[in-house]
Symmetry: D2
Subunit: 356 residues, 4 copies
C-alpha cells in the first residue's frame, strides 16, 4: 500500500495465541494487545506496577461479597506485601473475613436453592454461597464482647478496626484481612460501618452497656483527607464500587479544600460491573471523576468491566509473578494505626481539624 497509514492505525491488535503451560503472568501479558475488557484487565496490571514504582500512597476500596466469595486472602496478601497502603472496605467484607479468620467457613451453594428450606435450616445465602446463621450470631456476640473491652469513648472506624484486628490476631493467629492489616500497620476505614454486621455487633455491645459502641465516622473523613494532604501523591484501586469508591475520592476532594498541592489521585484502577449510564456512583466513569477533581487530569487510569472473582485471581497472580521486585523499593508511607490518632511517618494526623 502506498498510502500512508492513518495516525489512528499505529498499534495492531495481536491475536492471543494459546500455549500449553503459560503462566498467569504470560496470559495477562498477551492480553495487552487484545480488545475490550481483556485489554483493560491487562492494562490494570501495568498501571498498578506504575503505582508501585511511583511515590503514590495506594488506597484500595472493596465492596461486594469479596470475602464470602473467596477473595479475602488476595486482599490479605496485598496488605501483607504492601501492594496497597490503605484499605477502605464495606463492613460486610470485614465481617465475612472475621468469620473465616475465626475458623468458620462459607460454603459452596447454588443460586437456585430453595430459600424457604434454607431459612428453615437457618442458612444465609449470598448468590451461590452459603453460611450458618447461628455462626453469624456468634460472631455478633464475639464482636459485642470485644466492644465492651474497649474504652468508653468514640473510636474512628480506623482505630476500632485496628483494635479488632489485634484482638482477632491474638485470639486466633490466623491470616485474614483484619489480622494482616493489624500486623502490617495498614489502616482500614469503613465509612458505612453502620450498614453491616460489624455495626450490628457494635450495637449489641451498646445494648449491654449504653456507653459502649460509639464510632466517630466524621473523624474518619478528616483523618483520610489529612492523610492525602501529607502524602506526595495518591492512587486508587476500586473493586466493586460502593461507599469505598466514593470515600477514597472524597478524601482527595476534601484534601484539596485545605491544601493547594493536592490535585486528585494520580493513578486509578476500577474493576466494576456497574455501568455509568444510570448515574450511580459505583458505575461512574473515571473521566467523570476528573471533572470533580477526584482524579488528576493526567491520571493514568483504566476501568475493567468484570466480576472481581474472575479478574482478581489472574491480576494478583500476574502482579506477584512480575512485580514483586518493585515492593522493596516502594516509597510507601509508614503508619501507626494503633492509637486514637493515626500515626504517619512519626507524626500524628488530626481527626478534628484539617491540617496542611
Amino acid at each position: 500500500m502506498s498510502r500512508r497509514r492513518s495516525r489512528f492505525l499505529l498499534k495492531p491488535v495481536e491475536p492471543f495465541t494459546v500455549e500449553s503451560g503459560l503462566s498467569a503472568d504470560d496470559v495477562l501479558s498477551r492480553m495487552e494487545r487484545v480488545s475490550f475488557q481483556g485489554r483493560n484487565l491487562a492494562t490494570a496490571r501495568r498501571i498498578w506496577e506504575r503505582m508501585l514504582a511511583s511515590d503514590a500512597t495506594i488506597f484500595l476500596g472493596c465492596a461486594g461479597a469479596l470475602s464470602a466469595g473467596g477473595m479475602r486472602l488476595i486482599l490479605a496478601h496485598f496488605i501483607e506485601q504492601r501492594y496497597i497502603d490503605v484499605l477502605v472496605s464495606t463492613g460486610a467484607n470485614l465481617y465475612h473475613d472475621l468469620h473465616e479468620t475465626r475458623g468458620r467457613r462459607h460454603f459452596i451453594g447454588s443460586p437456585t436453592l430453595d430459600d424457604a428450606a434454607l431459612a428453615t435450616e437457618r442458612i444465609d445465602r449470598v448468590y451461590d454461597t452459603l453460611a450458618s446463621e447461628d455462626e453469624f450470631c456468634k460472631n455478633d456476640e464475639w464482636i459485642a464482647a470485644f466492644v465492651l473491652k474497649l474504652e468508653r469513648r468514640p473510636y474512628t472506624s480506623r482505630e476500632f478496626l485496628y483494635k479488632l484486628g489485634e484482638h482477632l490476631w491474638n485470639e486466633t493467629g490466623n491470616v485474614g484481612i483484619l489480622t494482616a492489616a493489624y500486623r502490617a500497620n495498614v489502616p482500614i476505614f469503613c465509612p458505612a460501618i453502620a450498614d453491616s454486621s460489624i455495626g450490628m455487633g457494635l450495637s449489641q455491645g451498646r445494648h449491654r452497656d449504653p456507653q459502649a459502641g460509639v464510632i466517630d465516622v466524621i473523624g474518619d473523613i478528616i483523618e483520610s483527607a489529612n492523610l492525602v494532604i501529607r502524602r506526595p501523591s495518591t492512587a486508587t484501586i476500586v473493586l466493586g464500587g460502593g461507599t469505598p469508591k466514593n470515600f477514597i475520592n472524597q478524601a482527595s476532594v476534601q484534601a484539596e479544600f485545605y491544601s493547594e498541592k493536592v490535585a486528585g489521585h494520580k493513578f486509578a484502577i476500577q474493576i466494576v460491573t456497574d455501568v455509568p449510564h444510570f448515574g450511580g456512583a459505583s458505575g461512574s466513569s473515571l473521566e467523570e471523576a476528573q471533572s470533580w477533581g477526584k482524579l488528576s487530569l493526567e491520571a493514568e487510569r483504566v476501568t475493567v468491566q468484570a466480576d472481581v472473582s474472575v479478574a482478581l485471581p489472574l491480576l494478583a497472580t500476574a502482579l506477584e509473578t512480575g512485580a514483586r521486585d518493585l515492593l522493596p523499593k516502594r516509597k510507601r508511607p509508614d503508619f501507626d494505626p494503633s492509637g486514637r490518632l493515626l500515626g504517619l511517618n512519626g507524626q500524628s494526623l488530626a481527626d478534628n481539624r484539617y491540617e496542611e
Copy 2:
C-alpha cells in the same frame, strides 16, 4: 382442542394496545399482562397499593443520583402524602436535595462533555448532569455553619437530619426531601453519612470546633430495629440498592434477635439495575433475602430491573391517580423525630438498648 389446558397455562399475556390520551394509570394497568420488566413494574404498583392497605410501616431506601437527576420531588411527594413512613437514603441524595431546596440547580449536560474543560470551569458531572462546584462548596459551608448551632453531643443521623430539614425549611420555605420529611414527621436515616458531602459539611463543622459534628450511626441501628419491633409489620421499597437496601433489611434481622414476633418484611419492591450474579448486595434477589429472614417467606415481592428515572415517574403518577384513596385510611405510625429519641405513637424508642 380437547386436551385440558396445562395447570401452567392459565393466564394469557394480553398484548398492550396503544390508545390516544391514555393516562399513566391506564398505561401501567395494561402493562400488568405483558412480560419481563414491564409486567414487573406494573406489579410493583399493585404491591405498593397492598402495602398502603395493610398495617405495614413502609420503609423507602434510595441510592444513586436520584436527587441530582430530577427525582427528588417525587420522593418529597411520597413523604408528604405518606406513601411511605421512613426514608433511608445515601448522603448524596440528601445533599443534592439540599442544593436545590437552597435555590441552586443541577443542569442538563451530556456524558460526552470534555471533563478537562469542566474541571477548568469547576463544574462537576454526574453522567449527563452538571452542577457548579463553587455552589457545592457553599453548601458545605452552610452545613458546617448549621452544625455549629447544634449541641455538642452525638446525634443519630435521624435526629441530625430532622434538625437539618427544620433549619432548611425555616430558611427557605422550599419543598424538598429534607423539608418534606421535617414537616411530615417522617424520619430519615443515613447510615453512610460519612461517605457524602453532608459528611464533609459535618467534618468542616468539626474543623471549626473539635467538639462538633458527632454522628452516632450505631444509635441509628438500634433505633431502626426498635421501630421494627414496635410496629405490627413492615414493608420495604428500594430504589437503586446501596446501603439503604441493606440497612432496611438489617433493621428487620436485628429486630428478630430481640423479638419473636418479628419475621421479616411483609412486602418488598425493588427497582434496581444491578444483577444478582456477581454476589453484591445491590443486585441481590428478594428470594435470597428470604433465606436471611430479611423478608417473610410469604412476602409479596417484585424486583423491577430498570433505571429509576424511567420507572418512577410512571409508577408515582399511576399511584397518585389510582391509590390516593388508600392514604387517609392507612394504619400508619405517628412519629416525633424532633428529639434525641425517636417518638413513635407517643412513646420513645431507645437508641442504646433493644426493647421488645
Copy 3:
C-alpha cells in the same frame, strides 16, 4: 451571584412533579428535563416526531422476545398507522406474532418455575412467559403447508413474509405484525430467518418437497440497499439490537458504495439493554456507528438503556397522543411488497444489482 453562569450550565434539570390523572404524554413530557435514561426516553419521542415530520423513510428493527412478551400490537399499530415504513425483525418476533394471530396465546409464568416439570408437560419458557410446545409444532406444520403452496423458486425474506402475512390475514382476519404489514404494504425483512421457528417451518416444507423453502437472503441485502438509495433520507429505530440493528445499518453502508448521495441515517433511536464496552453490535453506541458512515455525522440520535417492555408502552402511547397529526402529512414511501421485486412509488427495486 454576580459571576456569569458557565456556558455549560444553561438548562436546569426540572424535578418531575407528580400529579393525579396525568396522561402518558404529560408524564413523558415532564421527563424531558430529568436525567439519565428517563431523559433519554423522553428525547426518543421528540426525535421520532422529527423523523415523522421529515422526508425520512423509517426503518424499525426489533429483536428480543417482544411478541411473546406482549409488544406485538404496538408494532402492528406502528405499521398500520405508518409510524414506520420498513420492519426488520428476527424470526422469533414474527413467529410468536403468527402464533397469537392464529388464535393461540402466550401465558403468564415466572422465571422460577421448575423447568423439568415444564418439559414434562411440553411447555416452553421464555423467562417469565410460557407457551405450549404442541401448539408451536402445529404452527410449524401450518408454515410448512403454506410453503408448499408457494412457487418453487427463491423468495427474498421480504416477499416470503408478505405472502405469509397475506395468507395469515385471509385465514384469520386477525390483527398482528405480519397481517398489519400485509395490509399496510409495509415490507418486512428477516435476515436471520434461518435462525428461527419460521426457518424451521420452511425446512419442514422442504422436507416434504425438496424444491420448496428457498429463501434468498442475499437478495434482501440488495433490495434493502436499493431502497436506501432511492429515498431522500432514512431513519433507524432499534428495539433490542441483534441482527435487525446491523441489517438496517448495513443497508445504509452498502447503499453508500453505489450512490454518492447516501450519507448515513439522518435519525437514530435505539432502546437496548446491551452495553458498548464488550464490543458487541447490539450494545454498540450510535457514535461508533458514525465512524462507519452508518449514521450521518449530523444525525439526531439517542440511546435509551431500558427494557422495551418498560419503555415502549409509554413511548407509543405518548406518540399516539401527541404526534398523530404528523402522520397524514408524512412524506412516506409507497411500497408494493407483493411481487418478486419490491415496488417503490411505482417502480421496482432490483434484487440482483445495485442501482443508483
Copy 4:
C-alpha cells in the same frame, strides 16, 4: 460444635491464595472453590473436559466482535486441535478473521476517540478497536470475485464457507478461523450470513452476475439437525449468544422432531454478558433451554457471566495445559465439508429432508 452440619453446608469455599509463577491452569484450578463468576469459569473448564472425554459432538457458537478483538487464533486453535467439532458463527467474526488472514490488521484504539475524525479518515471503530474502511472495501471485492468463481447454484453457508476457507488458505497460507476449519474439516454454519460483510461481498458478486451469490440457509437448518440425529450425543459451547446460540439449540429441537433418540444437548457452557431478565435469547438461562428440550434435563451446564476477552484466554490456556491428553482419545465425528452435501463418517447428510 456438636450439632450436625446442615446437608447444605458440605463443601467450603477455599479462598484463593496468591503465589508467584502460577500457571493459568493452576489459577483456574484454585478458582473452582471461590464464588460467583470466577467459580463458574473454573467449572466451565471441567465441563469442557467432560465433553472431550464423552462421545459428544461439540458445537461452538460465537457472536460479538471476537475476531476483531484478538480472539480469532484461540478459535482457530480449538478447531485445529479439535477441542470442538462444528463452528456456528456470525458473519462478522468470519469477516474480521478473513481480514487478518489476508494480512490486514485491526488496531488498538479507544472508545473516546472522535468518531467524526475517524469517519473523515475512513476508519471504522468497534468500541476500542479500529480498522481501515478502504481495506474492508477491498475484502468485499475479494469476496465478490471469489463468489464469481463458484458454480451458479445455491450453496449452504456451510459449503460456501468451506470453499471460502480453501480459497483463503490457497492464497495466503495463513492460519485463521476459516483456514483452520478448511484444513481440519470442521464445518462452519453462518445462519445470519445476510447480516454481515460476508453477505455484502456475496451481494456484490451477484451485482456482477445476477445468477451468483445464492446461499441456501434453509439447507443449513436441515443439515445441522441431521448431524445431531446421526451423532450419539451433542454439546454446546456459546460465546456471546446471538444467532449461533439459538441455531445450535434449534438443531437439537428440530432433530428431536424426527428422531426419538435425540433428547437435547448433553453438555452446555455459555460465556455471555447478557442477562435473562429482559427475555432475549442471548441472555436466556440454560434452565430455560431445558423447558424447550434444547438441553437434556440431566445436562451438565454452566453460565459464565463475563466478557469473552477476559474469560477465554485463561480458559483456553488452562485447557491446553491440562486437557490435551483427552484430544487423541476423543470419539469425534469425521467430517467431509467439501461437497454439496456434508459428509459424516463416510456418509452424506441430506440438506432437503430430515433423516433418522
